[in-house]
Symmetry: C2
Subunit: 212 residues, 2 copies
């Protein structure tokens, strides 16, 4: 089994942290990003979706999309459960995981992709033709992240974890999104005391450091 | 059980078609979009995430995000299975469902939200503060949809259905995304014969019409 990886990419970290929380060894890892933060041409030839992460199974099946890879591991190794046990918990975890991705991760990606000099004309991942950066997305992305912080603060005021009473994949995506936001200068607001308590708790898990 | 709904919204249609494919009755439906294509204030007060769809269970739990609602129904009513049976099929369905959403649905939404006169200063769903439209996203969204069509054509050339050999939720999201694209003038390209064959097959399912 092999994980095609870009060590810096928050979407790859989601998978690595998930695997470590399952107490599994990481699959063999191949780095596929080279100079100028570009995917290596040999990787794009094999995987025209041109995104990371991608998992190749021993039987040669290829799975892209971080959450699809996580779901593969959840099914093969059900414990510890990270995606919900009953219908309502599964739905709640999925709701928060998708929000963390759509609002926290994509909001930050809008800032990062549209401002970083290595991504001129590469405003979207997975696009092999020219996609110009759109400077207006920098401000829009910052607003998205700010709203995401407010939403998480409200949730964590009355819940220990993002999806409720225990640690799940929703916490993993939220941590990876927030660390990406922090890296891009969007730190946790001072008045978000509940997020800060949660962040310290999640960030002190051994898998948080080991997945970086 | 109640589904808070905007009949036109493709994300609501994903849920309605999923429920109908499960051969369940639709939950009681409350329309929450009023004049100017705005969410009713009473709905936003109850559900500050300010998006549709949202499912309220008989016990009062609230689930947002179309796929979280679908997963709730999949767990309660496992047959017919729409989200995959074993680890690899679950992962493959999730990969394609997420792509259909991220590329087809969001690509089209970029065109729609940033060009429609009713969405001036409401460039993003779920944001209650002012989010200006970004005209450059119209062209970027069109490119995203064009790439999504190419990706689906390649997949459907060697597979009867989006995630492989049988109908799944990945087909539902893809149909809803493509119908949204078609409504916005981005019709299936003439040279995408495999998509056209698949589209006719999916679109002739009774649930395709009944969910509209």
């Amino acid at each position: 089994m092999k994980l095609y990886n870009w060590q810096f990419a928050p979407n790859c970290r989601r998978v690595r942290m998930f695997v470590l929380e399952k107490k599994l060894d990481l699959p063999s890892i191949e780095e596929v990003v080279g100079s100028g933060l570009r995917l290596l041409p040999a990787y794009v030839d094999r995987w025209p979706h041109a995104m990371v992460p991608m998992l190749e199974t021993d039987q040669g099946a290829r799975i892209g999309e971080a959450m699809a890879i996580c779901r593969y591991f959840e099914d093969l190794h059900p414990e510890p459960n990270l995606m919900g046990r009953d219908a309502l918990e599964k739905a709640t975890v999925e709701m928060w995981e998708r929000r963390a991705y759509d609002e926290g991760m994509i909001g930050t990606a809008e800032v990062f992709r549209n401002s970083h000099p290595d991504f001129v004309d590469r405003g979207l991942p997975g696009a092999l033709d020219r996609v110009p950066q759109i400077p207006a997305l920098i401000e829009r992305g910052r607003g998205r992240v700010a709203r995401f912080y407010r939403k998480c603060e409200a949730q964590l005021k009355s819940n220990d974890w993002i999806a409720g009473s225990r640690f799940t994949v929703a916490d993993i995506t939220t941590l990876c999104a927030m660390d990406f936001a922090i890296f891009n200068g969007m730190t946790i607001p001072d008045d978000c005391a509940s997020i800060r308590r949660w962040y310290d708790r999640v960030n002190s898990r051994p898998t948080a450091a080991a997945s970086q």
